[in-house]
Amino acid sequence: MTDKNDYPTLANADLIDAERSLFCDARPVPYEPYPVDFVEKFANWVRANSLWVLAFGTGCGAIELNPLMTSRFDANRYGIQMRPTPRQSCVIVVAGYSSVKTLKRIIRSYEQMQGPKFVLGLGICSLNGGMYWDSYNTIKRIDQYIPIDLYVTGCMPRPEALLAGFIELKDKIKAGQCDGTNRYVKDFDWYKANQKKVIKNWDMPDYNW
């Protein structure tokens, strides 16, 4: 059996001593695909047809998520449904701008999701800041903090555009191109440095699993 000390651990330096023992200090582990290619493709097909979206309205774009789930657009047709907790979700939609305060919650939620997990950037603000390009409190590029698999641009994109984005995401998942989980693990230190650069009051463990 491998000793725990063989694995590199995280410092969790920003936690107070009393809390440090309460949190995990393990680094994230990459997703290992099934050894048989056919099985992995089948798993991807299954994943693509059952997207469980974290019901977390991160910005103004969250207002577009509500009609998506109702009878007019009915995203359930495509196997998309909302879940109330990150533990049950595999997709997080970064809907529009994210302030630094929200970014902290986005990171925390994203890290708590189980892999393989996918991120959809909705609206121009998640892409390059949009109308908040000069806001002191709104980050410009969400892809510097968490890995993004697909963007749906616009301000605001209609629910049709969002549905088209989900279908595109499904195609990418089926093709095995959504490797955000592993990108986050691979570049974990870079992502973490970017996150800590803007989030000044970092009082969480380094990896919120």
Partner: protein
Amino acid sequence: MIEALKQRLSEHFQLTNLTIKNAGLAFLWVEKHELEMLLRQLRDFEGYTHLSFIIASDHIEKNQFKLTYMLHNYDTKHDLGVHVDISRVNASMHSIHPLWAQAWTYQRELKEMYGIDFPESPRVDEDFCLEGWDDMPPMRRDFDTVKYCEEHFDDRDGRATEENRQTMKVNIYPERGE
């Protein structure tokens, strides 16, 4: 009505100015040290029982902040704004949370956004919207938001240098190019 109110208030307070915007809205100016007593008078005897909001505006040319306390009278459906000018240097103001309990939320916001201190206001030093902010309060006019953005958030290299019309012709609709 508002003139009669001004007459009554003038007997006790030094009102420096009065502006009547329309039948339902008026503003008056008062000195800093008289504010709390004036608000108490308006609340208890003149029917302005509701504090709608407190805002600040930054008059950097005069080196002053202008605080505005907006009150509402449910009986007469009248809004009355009370302006107070305070110094921009070490800006500080009396807390009015004993008069209206909700005032401390506004005061906490003003402390964070403008750096105006309200001693003895509950939780006034806690973070409100910004978490871990260590720069100048961002709503002050001498805060350079573009500079702050450039220092903290990275731009995306994008289509900024390309001419949109030409890009559309060449890359997206080559068959429609002229």
